[in-house]
Symmetry: D2
């Protein structure tokens, strides 16, 4: 953002005012009029607040690259559920992979009992290795839907291949785009074209701006809404698998007023850090958290070490959602 | 960590048990006995829990490189104040730089009124540019001490040059080592040698292990205690200045049981994100937060845009510390 | 990697030998026999060299997760062209997007004259913004093929949607998987299933191991071969767009003996740094470089600022390929 | 950089011209005149080239924060040796730590025989752990000086504590500031105040701009000159210890015309990657390379795994410096 000053103004006085408003300001030289640059990382303010400062002539900035995201409401409906800023926190829980009809039902039962409103579970799994379990596909979608219906839960599951989008949309209330796919434009368009709301996980090393642009792809294609999901970005320290970026959550939820949830299980990959980070996520403004759970983590076909046991889920859910009868 | 199995055991059965405990396990081949590797990012467990698994013969791992940190207590005394796990959250507040005797007193008054227990303020400033304000040095130390004493506050301030350590220790209750200095071993030793507790900020790109080793330097040299301070690590996204790593906070506070606080002001550098991240820090297990405040941020000699006004500080403090009379 | 020692050996003596071989070694405690851990970042050695050290009983390590990549030859045929370790350096050049039939022909002419052997050009463009030019699709494939054929060039172009893979394979000699798609398993499988060789760009924040696993996906699905393409990873410094990782190139080319090329244009995005980085890439062991060029960069539909003019391409090609008549 | 256009100009036409020059350009809206923003990562051009574009009224940008660095010459004298752009490549070699008088002499002999002109060796060692070898201090300085003098070599060694700067300057021709100290302003000033040239290693996660500002600290304090040393930045992939940033080297050497060398030994920490990266460094424009060598790497008190043997040094030196009698 560039602040153009009237020729007779005192740039230092204007700078003082802008700094007082919370802006990082750098004076520029050589222009045909006095000019100041407002740096990234400044507080976001209505443009009128800047124009109201004495000595400011005009403010120039790029046109937003994501007008539909800018106009997106802060809360979203997933079936009858309201999710977003102002709404009560939402718990999404379930296994990494849907492993069988029986296990889907057993988990849905426990997940609902713990107070979760949305059942998660992988049918199509994005895997780093071609030799890892790739999911039970279409059949798992049906198990998941039936298990959720029996317990009054909504369903979120990942779509991985554009050509599966329609089929996933038949069974899911919310289509998940995974981290590895956040910049796959054919997939973003296919998911959006189903007209369902999309749960858009942040890419491993995506900037907030790239994340918003990915959402714009979905919305342009027809998505009913986008819920953002922070799941940790790539960091340099192996002691916690990824770096959970709650600054980005606070920015999306508090400043941009967008619905955003957090997946602490994938963010840290350590069962002993899931609970404190889930609490921190809600404190930072997240509208909900997504937790991995498994009836028997040691037998899980994927990601067992980060899955909570049903008892751990129940305890954490109680602390996150407040006392329940 | 390597888990050596008895020759007749079934590595897959042992793996299942270890995964159930929350460990990421990789089988190794070629050894003279069956062996499993436990990956970083696994839950931390007492070694006995692993040895108790049927089929495990022994567990081999490196000797800790920081025995004094491992033995460090979870709470620390700074003057009469208790800070750490279990103790009530502590608020540290004050200006980036101590600018004058009068402003130090005015801020100490407000800081104390808001419920903070420790006054922060820079006398010696680490600056990226040689042309930026470098601090009022020794004189600022005296202003800070007097202002704090008038309002029943403890003092924390940064030491930058090893030869200033003794002088800083005369005036401060807690010696701060800044991010830029976290790996300066002469400074770590000089600060430790004063016998005071040290507030050790994490380096811009330091791993948790490097951070613990820096603390070990201080403790070996004689520091009474170390309080860790997370202030964001270098990330790739300019929309939030740094990446606040609350996973590391949860790890230090909850798993390693060390006293750790958070500086959200430097972490994000945006006034509009300080409050949600301060709340998230406490939710993640931090024992306190350190906030930058200034009577008139537009006139601050450094870091004005991220400083809270006294009114903003009072409001945030109330929400963090709970209702106060 | 774990080195198990005979019980009567002296771990310090063995460590000395292993360090002399170029290994970073950490002693482990608590095992049923003396054990040493070899850290990542050690020189890669035949296992026999370690077993030959006196006192070593056995070496245990995980089974490779990418056996087909491990068995991949160091050179690859793309039509009649040999590319890889030992073969002469190969130049790939062309526009970011194929913009018209005429421009494709004009560029192919200049590209061939400069000594390049493969024509690159985007038909399907992966774009961060939904409002950017998305490519001329199938029609551009035909223009590209015809232009290449007229000038004796092979063709490489990106496939973005799994359902386009067969069609792209009809026109291209080498299927490019872009950075944003490196972890899209349906696309990796679809590209591999065409039986063509694949040019696999490294993901923005992919580790070398993840990159190798993505190649394994292609090979399992039937790809004739994989050529790796380093194009810079996400860094923290905006002065050079991405961080070109020539250490990874040296590792793949020199240690793992795999065919790897470098795309300096996307790595830095700055025309003034393309030439020195292209030279550095070949010096580090790359088998070739891929350069963006445009007849009139100011009129390019995408990435004009990083495109070389035909004159710049000719000059750089001459310096890279040696003196030409 | 902001390009202010004359009111009657066509911003799209001007953009085309600027893109043709190699600039990434974003149009701004809302200003009192048409304005364009030139993004970081653009080619660096004389300002006059931009002002010459039809329709451009003025160009506004921040004043440089490092005027002394901007005025720094491209070559530097270290004793009688010329180092920098245009001068023949310089080889700096020696052990990580100076371990004894005898070993210093033995290595100096081999280092000189290999064609190196500067002897490196640590007297004061910055160590991550307080329990690692910290160097032989002042005595090692004398050994180093004597060994160098016997073989006609210049000396570079690290200064770690500001109070040692004068003493180090008595024995060394070039004072090294290590990565961990790059932002220690008291040390930068103390090193500069000796009046000697400074070898300034880049901090682990320092941006190029922060690196230039650290050099400005040295120059303001009186340093005769600064030689920049790239040694890898912190990355996310453990397979190569650090990420060698040759884009930054090309930028400093080729665009900013500053003397810059590369330390591939610390960059990768793997003996098998030192040679290809040393070659790549010179190809990218580095004025020299600094290599770690040890008579018997297995017995080294520090960093043995990355040290070249004397035979490896001799072979690499020959390939880097060209054929020698």
């Amino acid at each position: 953002m560039i602040v153009n000053l009237v020729r007779t103004s005192d740039p230092r006085a204007v700078t003082r005012e802008l700094v007082a408003l919370g802006l990082w300001v750098t004076p520029l030289e050589g222009g045909s009029q006095p000019q100041l640059r407002v740096e990234e990382g400044s507080r976001e303010l209505p443009i009128g607040d800047i124009l109201a400062v004495s000595g400011v002539e005009s403010v120039a900035r790029p046109r937003s690259a994501h007008p539909r995201v800018d106009a997106h409401p802060p809360t979203v409906r997933v079936r009858s559920l309201e999710l977003g800023t102002g709404a009560p926190p939402v718990l999404i829980a379930g296994p990494c992979s849907v492993e069988s009809e029986a296990s889907a039902h057993a988990l849905a039962h426990r997940v609902a009992a713990a107070g979760a409103k949305i059942l998660r579970g992988g049918a199509y799994k994005p895997r780093t290795s071609p030799y890892s379990f790739q999911g039970h596909g279409g059949q798992a979608l049906e198990w998941l839907r039936a298990a959720a219906d029996s317990h009054g839960l909504a369903v979120v599951t990942e779509v991985l291949d554009p050509e599966d989008a329609a089929r996933v949309a038949e069974h899911a209330d919310l289509l998940q785009i995974g981290s590895r796919s956040m910049q796959s434009s054919p997939l973003l368009r296919a998911a959006g074209a189903t007209g369902k709301p999309v749960l858009l996980k942040r890419g491993m090393a995506a900037t907030v701006e790239e994340w918003l642009l990915a959402a714009e792809h979905c919305l342009v294609a027809g998505a009913a809404a986008v819920i953002f999901c922070e799941r940790g970005v790539r960091g340099f320290d192996p002691s916690t698998r990824n770096l959970l970026d709650l600054g980005a959550v606070a920015l999306l939820a508090g400043v941009r007023r967008l619905p955003v949830i957090v997946d602490p299980s994938h963010a840290v990959g350590r069962r002993d850090l899931v609970a404190p980070l889930a609490r921190a996520a809600l404190a930072a403004g997240a509208a909900g958290v997504m937790l991995e759970t498994h009836d028997s983590p040691g037998d899980a076909l994927s990601d067992g070490p980060q899955a909570l046991t049903p008892a751990e889920l129940t305890e954490l859910a109680a602390s996150l959602l407040g006392a329940r009868a």
